[in-house]
């Protein structure tokens, strides 16, 4: 009948303070990068992007070394707006990304646990993964042009986090005190980051598609929309990101089920969070099927993926604030 005495889990306030300052530094860095990317999009020159992995590297037609190469289906040339500011923007994004990492680490040290135990920490970690996925695409697929579209939601999320979510560093409830948080939540946060980039690419794709349709009708398109890269490329980037995110999401949901089995005595109980994770999963599965279904590729599939993204966002904000379930940490 003895009650345990105080477990001293009060957060290390010094480190906690540092991690709060870092969030501000992070926002400033991403905001500067956003400005530079917007500048690039608006004032850059439309140039051909060579060597994007989505387009065959080096497999150009004609004589290469001693080879005579013949390609049946010519890859369309990929063009995007380029400007030195964009490069600088990418550099600043890398700096922001590093600050983001340091922020998460100091936060983890300050509270002496995995640094994703509440909404504020989820948001910061998701932004980290989103920017990470963006950096990956920009180095591997030269998709720097996505910078604007990724950083806008990232800054919005960070703004919401700082303004409305409780950022105070503290301990988590016993149910969250498990190594499964490292597995389950990390997988879902990583997947969310990649879904976010995919969502940005999809919206860009829809805009670019409209531009191309207008051009095909002979209209002239000015404005930033005219400088977007080809719709096909955007579509492929969006697809690639979902292909990365979907298995991660699947794995994360399964890991969650295993954890629920351990913590709550059932692996699936239709808790609102579980329901919406399931819905999100099904909608993205529908997206993948749509791409393999005659008449559903392109714009229709894009809309399905946006519905999936909306479900993801709802799962994050809506479910935490509207419903009371085992998963509410708001």
């Amino acid at each position: 009948m003895v009650h345990a005495l105080a477990a001293n889990v009060a957060a290390d306030s010094n480190l906690a303070g540092i991690s709060e300052d870092l969030v501000l530094a992070l926002i400033i860095a991403y905001a500067i990068a956003l400005f530079l990317f917007v500048f690039e999009a608006a004032y850059g020159r439309r140039e051909s992007l060579a060597g994007t992995r989505l387009v065959a590297v080096g497999a150009t037609e004609g004589r290469v070394d001693d080879l005579t190469v013949n390609l049946r289906s010519k890859e369309p040339e990929v063009k995007a707006s380029r400007h030195i500011f964009g490069r600088v923007g990418l550099g600043v994004t890398v700096v922001g990304f590093a600050i983001n990492l340091v922020q998460i680490v100091t936060r983890g040290l300050a509270v002496d646990r995995w640094p994703w135990g509440n909404m504020f920490e989820f948001v910061v970690a998701i932004c980290f993964c989103g920017v990470g996925a963006f950096l990956f695409t920009s180095f591997r697929y030269k998709a720097r042009y996505l910078g604007t579209f990724v950083l806008i939601p990232v800054l919005l999320l960070l703004g919401i986090a700082v303004r409305w979510l409780d950022g105070e560093a503290g301990p988590v409830v016993p149910a969250l005190d498990s190594y499964w948080i490292a597995i389950h939540v990390s997988a879902l946060i990583l997947a969310t980051g990649a879904f976010m980039v995919s969502g940005s690419a999809t919206i860009t794709y829809l805009v670019a598609q409209r531009t191309e349709a207008k051009r095909a009708l002979g209209e002239t398109v000015s404005s930033i929309a005219a400088k977007l890269p080809s719709a096909e490329l955007l579509d492929r980037v969006a697809h690639r990101m979902i292909i990365l995110a979907f298995p991660l999401w699947t794995f994360g949901v399964i890991a969650g089920a295993i954890w629920a089995d351990e913590a709550w005595g059932r692996f699936w109980g239709w808790d609102p969070k579980e329901v919406w994770s399931f819905i999100t999963w099904v909608v993205y599965a529908a997206y993948l099927h749509a791409r393999a279904t005659a008449g559903w590729q392109g714009k229709k599939a894009a809309w399905i993926s946006l519905i999936g993204f909306a479900c993801l966002l709802f799962n994050f904000f809506g479910v935490n604030y509207m419903f009371s379930g085992l998963h509410s940490y708001a």
Partner: protein, 517 residues
């Protein structure tokens, strides 16, 4: 979304024109073809997602019966209508079952033929090298001094991982079978998962109970406060283990802005797998259940059980035990409870009480609890005298006093442990003797846990295969050219999207070229 235009290959002679002239068998075939088409799968997937939504918006019986009852109470007109559409049991409703069963029939009809075709393909040799390689998405030619045989020998090590079929002057190679294998595995694993879940809901059970420190229970039906057996469970034949709660400890954050938040719970228990077996001990924690004999015992929550000693008007001790109180909120653990004393004479006694683990006087002057830990326990009781109504035959909740045939005789002052309250008119006394912890436990037995886990893992593995493996074919042909040198042709084909493969073929071609230089 519902337009079923016959564009999908699977339903190529689809619904429209030919449908009315079909024989019965033709109709069945037609329906089957529609059902197993990708388009239908897509629509069913949408319905599966859409149908899941109401279950998150409305309270569900499977999750919380109390919330459903509340909903009925607050919306007496709407609720029965919603109930008619099974909206409080969405995930076990006939219409939801219809969606997922259709989906899985569709899946079977779609994947089994595919699995069969894939099996044949896996056993077949790669197809012969076509005559014209320059029609392939990628092709490259070069000439070399090496003999044709040498070229083909040199090409082999570059085609590691490919299945190779040699012809007189060419190699035909295929790789990436695992994509289709993964796809089939993934979809079959989903089927297996559904079957596992069905088995679990038939042969599993789940039950809840409260256990006060020092008390024990045997795993039999009467031990449970609530018991949910699957259709095929015999409640008299559940695992015969026995378990006692020796000690429970809860730790809370003591100060700062998170003061009062729970930090850890742990319960020391002693158990026997079956009568006559040796006693074993286990520390039960959240995230650390106890496995006994195919069942799992989970620590779900905890609370306080103040203990009372009641003496009736004759001076007999008629009750002396802890009584579990249910908490109202987790930050103060202010708890409510009922003490029923059926054995007192001449009349039965009953009490309702409020327990404050950490009593303090609020600014308003009221006595409240300001911390979840039992730092300063107090109990305030209301006494009732009369007939508890236990003999009426209706089942009663132990957490509710049915006071229709009782009269209230007064309210106690705030009692500390050791305090005794004398009921008015010599009706008896009640002593607040101390506080014990209780824990709420869930016992669950679900034979589908492991099969479901295996299916889920298979699904992820299959998914990785289907998303990341690229099926591809490569051909290398070497023939003597007009100038006496050997002309080498390399060509490649992928069946799925993604241009990275062109780069891969190009690497192959230039690799071969380098080797023959």
């Amino acid at each position: 979304m519902t337009s079923l235009k016959p564009t999908a290959p699977a339903s190529s002679d689809g619904p429209g024109s030919s449908a009315p002239r079909l024989s019965p068998l033709g109709w069945v075939r037609w329906a089957w073809r529609i059902l197993t088409s990708m388009r239908t799968a897509l629509i069913l997937l949408f319905l599966l997602a859409l149908g899941a939504i109401p279950g998150s918006l409305l309270p569900q019986r499977g999750v919380s019966i109390e919330q459903v009852q509340n909903y009925f109470f607050e919306n007496p007109d709407l609720a029965p209508w919603l109930d008619r559409f099974f909206l409080f049991d969405v995930y076990s409703s006939p219409w939801y079952a219809a969606i997922y069963l259709l989906l899985f029939v569709s899946l079977t009809g779609c994947v089994l033929p595919r699995a069969l075709a894939h099996y044949r393909l896996m056993r077949a040799r790669p197809p012969k090298t076509p005559r014209r390689l320059d029609r392939m998405p990628y092709s490259a030619t070069f000439s070399t001094d090496a003999t044709p045989d040498e070229v083909l020998t040199q090409a082999r090590p570059l085609l590691k991982g490919y299945r190779i079929e040699a012809d007189t002057d060419s190699l035909s190679a295929e790789a990436g079978y695992l994509r289709e294998t993964g796809n089939v595995l993934f979809h079959l694993a989903l089927l297996a998962l559904l079957v596992a879940l069905a088995i679990g809901s038939f042969f599993g059970y789940r039950g809840n109970m409260l256990l006060v420190e020092g008390d024990s229970f045997a795993n039999t039906l009467p031990s449970y406060d609530a018991f949910h057996p699957g259709h095929a469970v015999d409640p008299d034949a559940i695992e015969p283990f026995w378990l006692r709660l020796d000690d429970f400890e809860a730790a809370f954050v003591q100060d700062g802005s998170f003061s009062g938040q729970a930090d850890s719970f742990s319960a020391d228990v002693t158990y026997r797998e079956a009568p006559g077996e040796v006693e074993q001990t286990h520390v039960l924690k959240v995230n650390h259940p106890l496995q006994v004999d195919g069942a799992q015992v989970y620590l779900l929550g905890h609370g306080y059980a103040p203990s009372f000693k009641v003496t009736d008007s004759r001076g007999d001790v008629v009750l002396d035990q802890p009584v579990p109180f249910l908490f109202r909120d987790t930050f103060t653990f202010t708890s409510d409870g009922v003490v029923k004393v059926p054995d007192s004479a001449p009349e039965q006694l009953g009490f309702t009480g409020v327990f404050l683990p950490s009593a303090a006087t609020a600014e308003s002057g009221d006595l409240v609890s300001d911390f979840p830990e039992a730092r300063n326990p107090r109990v305030v009781l209301k006494g009732f005298v009369g007939d508890l109504g236990l003999d009426s035959g209706d089942s009663q909740s132990v957490y509710q006093l049915y006071a229709e045939r009782m009269t209230q005789v007064g309210e106690s002052p705030a009692m500390a442990p050791g305090d005794t309250w004398e009921l008015p008119d010599g009706a008896g006394t009640i002593e607040f003797t101390g506080v014990s912890d209780y824990i709420s436990l869930q016992v669950a037995s679900n034979p589908s846990r492991v099969p479901a886990l295996v299916s889920a893992i298979a699904a992820v593995v299959g998914l990785l295969g289907t998303l990341f493996v690229q099926p591809r074919r490569v051909w290398v042909r070497a023939r003597p050219g007009a100038d006496g040198r050997t002309v080498v042709e390399v060509a490649g084909l992928v069946k799925t999207e993604g241009a990275a493969s062109l780069a891969r073929f190009h690497e192959l071609a230039s690799g071969l070229n380098q080797r023959l230089r």
